[in-house]
């Protein structure tokens, strides 16, 4: 196998490899700015310089030439090379800043140049704390600068588009943002204008940077030049908690990170998953953070005299039980939801079979033309395939509304059927509707009883994407009944660890009074006199699912975590007994 020597260590490699990527893959480091693994490598920042040489071969024999000590004779490239666009070749010898003083010096001097006109305003810059320029200047940069002349000024606070703001002075012209629009989103909306020390990225005159993926440029900008119009100035990076999760605004299952502070979700960023979304996500998915904070149903709500008033949990369970006991079993309709997780839907169907009701039905939520063949899909729900694999009856909208009209009691799992005009308020006039909801909506307003359930940001649960890949979320924010310190699935950030109820970092306000649907269902079962229906968390539900339902065979949280999601065999079906 071909070999390469990096800082005196021998590595074997296969195929075509970029030197910088290879070094990183081995867990070593070379500083860089313009390189990005999913973009082309124009090598314009010059930060990734290393010393590279190739052993000399005897032309006749093809043998390596050896010196008097028996070592291979190395012919060094006349100048330092940018490792990001150097392809590894057999026998190559590389010295990084760890072993070569010239390389170290070159990287330091490059940084000094890059920083000539940089404002060095880290204390007021949003990027501070997650800024490659800041980090690498600390690690590899010069202590001071020899450029004591006035800095060049450039435009600041340019609204490039509805969601992205540019501070041209901070830009180091790495062109990552431009290459993103050229190579990934393919809208070609950005370019670098002017040259020398006056250049910066911009749209064509009178054009907006309204790319459906524009916020990815904020993520990949290695400095604070591009910031999110929505998120800027809201929080310092180190105050937040980062929790892995899944985008719920469509069926792609884009992997995301949810960033919280004091149990408020402040932003959503993409999380790398080669098989799903690479490094990217659509802007639309980032907007979803509001769903987790705003307009949440907190405490059960009951309709009394056409007005919804807060009620108690006990009363809510008693009311549901009363309603269910008062009607014929066939008059009860359970509606599952492609907006809810596999676990929640499974629990709904289990409850219905234990109680002898008809299997839950569901209707998918699609909008033609929403998909773009990349990360947006026509399907606007994260788990339609999950419902299908659970063996739910998929019905069309008119069928569903017919069923609902006929039923006397409807149990509706988190799906805004009235808002999306599948059902109308009038149709439900003579039906007692219990809605298990995360957010207030037209639908929840129509319901006679609203029971608040946890959203994806508050529980661990799984979702099956459009390609049949099952992936799961982690709880990112606490509810009234969960505690970061006791729940091993939850992350603790600095403020969570050190904040107390007596300082002003932490409040109770942002914790929603809601329960996971499986706990709600367990309590209901208890109320209805069903024995042994008791589920505490998503993990144990998934264990039960995988041991009983064929399509989910072998699925576990551990495996999903390990393999960043598992592709399910969609040929297998859940057979109903």
């Amino acid at each position: 196998m071909p070999e390469v020597f990096i800082d005196g260590k021998r590595f074997e490699y296969e195929g075509e490899q970029r030197l910088l990527q290879f070094i990183q893959d081995q867990g070593m480091e070379v500083p860089f700015f313009c390189y990005h693994p999913s973009l082309s490598a124009p090598a314009n920042c010059r930060q990734c310089l290393v010393k590279v040489g190739q052993p000399v071969k005897d032309r006749e024999t093809g043998e390596y030439e050896l010196d008097e000590n028996g070592e291979r004779v190395i012919r060094w490239f006349p100048k330092l090379q940018t490792s990001c666009n150097t392809m590894i070749s057999d026998g190559m010898v590389v010295h990084t800043q760890e072993t070569d003083d010239l390389v170290k010096r070159a990287q330091k001097d490059t940084l000094e140049f890059i920083l000539i006109n940089h404002p060095l305003d880290c204390p007021i810059c949003d990027q501070a704390g997650e800024c490659p320029l800041q980090i690498q200047t600390y690690k590899y940069g010069p202590e001071g600068s020899r450029f004591e002349v006035k800095k060049v000024h450039k435009p600041k606070r340019i609204q490039l588009g509805p969601r992205v703001i540019l501070d041209a002075e901070r830009c180091i012209n790495c062109t990552r943002c431009v290459r993103f629009t050229d190579e990934v989103s393919k809208t070609h909306q950005l370019t670098i204008t002017s040259r020398g020390d006056k250049n910066y990225p911009i749209t064509a005159p009178d054009r907006e940077f309204d790319d459906a993926y524009s916020l990815n440029t904020v993520d990949i900008c290695p400095v604070g030049a591009l910031t999110s119009a929505d998120f800027r100035f809201k929080a310092r990076v180190w105050e937040m908690n980062q929790t892995p999760s899944i985008d719920i605004t469509n069926a792609k299952g884009t992997n995301i990170d949810i960033w919280t502070r004091d149990n408020l979700v402040l932003r959503i960023t993409p999380r790398y998953n080669e098989a799903v979304n690479d490094h990217w996500m659509p802007d639309e998915g980032r907007e979803a953070y509001r769903l987790f904070n705003e307009n949440r149903v907190s405490r059960p709500h009951q309709k009394i005299d056409n007005e919804q008033v807060k009620s108690s949990w006990n009363n809510a369970f008693a009311t549901v039980a009363e309603q269910l006991e008062g009607v014929d079993k066939k008059d009860v309709l359970l509606i599952g939801s492609s907006h809810a997780s596999v676990e929640e839907n499974y629990i709904l169907s289990k409850l219905s079979s234990l109680l002898g009701y008809n299997e839950p039905v569901f209707t998918s939520h699609t909008e033609k033309g929403k998909g773009d063949g990349f990360l947006l899909t026509d399907d606007l729900a994260p788990n339609a395939n999950g419902c299908r694999l659970l063996g739910f009856n998929e019905v069309d909208n008119s069928k569903l509304s017919g069923l609902a009209e006929k039923a006397k009691v409807v149990l509706l799992l988190n799906d805004n059927l009235v808002d999306r005009e599948v059902l109308s308020e009038d149709q439900l006039n003579n039906t007692f509707v219990v809605s298990f909801s995360t957010n207030h909506s037209q639908t929840s307003k129509t319901a006679d009883l609203v029971i608040p359930i946890t959203c994806i940001a508050e529980h661990a649960a799984s979702y099956v994407n459009i390609d049949g890949r099952i992936q799961r979320s982690f709880p990112a924010k606490e509810t009234k009944y969960t505690n970061r310190r006791l729940d091993f699935e939850m992350n603790e950030g600095r403020l969570d660890r050190y904040g107390t109820n007596f300082d002003n970092w932490v409040t109770e306000e942002n914790k929603v009074d809601c329960l996971p649907f499986w706990i709600v269902a367990s309590k209901l079962a208890d109320q209805l006199g069903v024995d042994g229906f008791d589920y505490g968390n998503g993990r144990e539900i998934m264990e039960e699912i995988s041991s009983t339902l064929a399509p989910f065979e072998g699925v576990s949280y551990a495996r999903m975590d390990e393999e960043s999601g598992i592709v399910l065999d969609q040929e297998k079906t859940t057979v109903k007994s």
Binding site: H188, L190, T191, S194, R195, I202, A204, P205, D206, R207
Partner: protein, 176 residues
């Protein structure tokens, strides 16, 4: 104002495109066609070029703004780029520039009201051997300037007389 290429321009652009494997390469020469036609490549002209070549507007904008030779706004009929970089500066470049400013009644960077002249102060144009010098509208060099010479140059240009291309012999070392 609406900018449009003439049939001839379009034919020329087609010819340019045929020379390269990709149209992107035609950006620079197509911008020249545009600048020759309209006297500048302001943002509307950039859009026209992008449309004609079917290239992204942002790309054409980036190229047009990279090169100072493309005028991003309307300029005078004659653009006088007076060099004040080191060699010209030492040989009296500023005297030349100042005399031009007086004569035209404008400052460097400005255009005369009648739209005849734009005066610029520029960096080295690579003609240090015949300093001080200036360039007229991306084209002819006028060399070994004196304040008097620039006055008469301006008079000539006003009268429609453009200078000839000049060939200047550099003193060579005598080989014995």
């Amino acid at each position: 104002m609406k900018y449009e290429f003439t049939e001839d321009d379009l034919q020329e652009i087609e010819k340019i495109k045929a020379k390269y494997p990709e149209v992107k390469a035609a950006t620079l020469p197509a911008l020249w066609v545009a600048q020759n036609r309209f006297g500048h490549v302001n943002s509307d002209v950039q859009k026209l070029v992008a449309e004609t070549l079917e290239l992204p507007e942002a790309h054409v904008h980036g190229v047009a703004t990279f090169y100072t030779q493309y005028y991003k706004e309307e300029k005078g009929k004659f653009v006088l780029d007076v060099c004040t970089c080191l060699s010209c500066q030492l040989c009296g470049g500023y005297d030349v520039l100042e005399r031009a400013e007086e004569k035209l009644g404008i400052k460097a960077g400005e255009t005369t009201d009648d739209g005849m002249f734009t005066l610029n102060e520029v960096e080295c144009l690579g003609a240090c051997g015949y300093a001080p010098m200036l360039q007229i509208t991306n084209d002819k060099y006028v060399n070994n300037l004196t304040p008097e010479k620039i006055e008469s140059l301006i008079e000539d240009l006003k009268a429609g007389k453009t200078p000839e291309y000049e060939q200047i012999e550099m003193p060579l070392r005598k080989v014995k």
